[in-house]
Symmetry: C2
Subunit: 227 residues, 2 copies
């Protein structure tokens, strides 16, 4: 009985990791679709989001089943609850990647915008891809230095969002109406992707250390949405 | 032992309901702050968000404790897991209300924008307040007709978001740069508030009926973010 349970917990961890790989791929390809105005890549991300949603459903079902049948305690309970939280976080990241892909697809064959805002958005796609891939490595290795790295690199996205406000509102860089709309949305999607990675990293850290304070900081927050 | 457990479950339900009242108040007052360009109301919402976050922390801690000590099964397990999901949903709603309040505060003493976009945003604040208050009644009564009503009324917010795209991109209504930026953000915040209410309603319905299909639709989704 216990052996089966341990196998189920291992399977749960594997599924979370597999889901994170799909999400990191979505973030990477969505970024490419945006930078390259590539409609095929955009479509690929949009179509693949169903698979990510299915992961969340099956992980939640697995967790409910484990809670009901095995009644885990202590570390095992933390693992099951963390898996539920992580799958919800990963699913939101997949959604955000899909929204980035929608933008790229809608403007095709044009780029979503031009000028310094496009450069900034391109940078943000690279930062987002980096932290999404870091999250997969963290889920694989449980190396908490990676968690620290994710929190640090998320600053790049927060700073880029602030820079976008300057470009939009202070410098009032020349942009057509739809470019302003796209920029506001895309900078937010990409910055939120970073926040979710931090949330996932904090949740994993809580799982490893048992420190509840980390889970308090799992909340997406801060002043990053102030306009 | 069982009596204590039943009391703990009842307390959990009470806390979720109390949290929902705080959230509905935040949504209502944030809407008023926006419509009336009222900085005091904006500040009130911003300050009160800490209390909402505290609710989420204490509810999560209570749920973990219940899972570990009481090892609930069947309906009781669904209640505990649903409480964790609902508190996360309510916390996000509180955040969105806070972001609406930030916008109102930043533009004070001016309104966030003018013209037909301001009228649209005002309508959206009313719709959002309505579904947030419906959610509290649903959590109080478990009357599933309210859940159906929330899903229906959420259409108002989805349609308003689509209308905002028309105003911005098609009709290209006259708006200053900061008004465009604010409008894009605020329409999204308010439409997301509706989505979270639907998510909460679906989760409550799953709790009452035990029907897992409803929980699949708990995901925020749809095409509402397409720009």
């Amino acid at each position: 009985m216990r052996k089966i349970f341990q196998q189920e917990l291992a399977d749960l961890g594997d599924d979370i990791y597999a889901m994170s790989l799909k999400v990191a791929e979505a973030v990477r390809v969505a970024g490419e679709a945006l930078r390259e105005a590539d409609i095929e890549k955009a479509e690929r991300v949009i179509d693949a989001d169903n698979r990510i949603d299915e992961y969340e459903d099956s992980i939640e079902a697995m967790c409910l089943s484990l809670l009901a049948r095995q009644q885990p305690v202590a570390t095992d309970l933390r693992l099951v609850v963390s898996a539920m939280r992580l799958s919800a976080t990963l699913e939101r990241m997949g959604d955000l990647a899909r929204h980035v892909a929608y933008s790229a697809r809608t403007r095709y064959p044009e780029h979503v915008c031009g000028g310094p805002m496009f450069e900034l958005l391109s940078d943000m796609t690279h930062y987002a891809t980096e932290v999404a891939e870091d999250l997969t490595r963290l889920l694989d290795t449980h190396d908490l230095e990676i968690a620290e790295g994710i929190r640090r690199k998320d600053d790049n996205l927060d700073n880029a969002l602030k820079r976008s406000f300057e470009l939009l509102n202070v410098e009032q860089v020349e942009l057509k109406r739809h470019e302003v709309v796209n920029s506001v949305l895309l900078t937010r999607f990409l910055e939120r992707l970073g926040d979710h990675c931090v949330s996932g990293a904090n949740r994993l850290e809580y799982l490893v250390t048992g420190d509840l304070d980390s889970s308090v900081t799992e909340r997406l927050g801060g002043e990053s949405f102030v306009d």
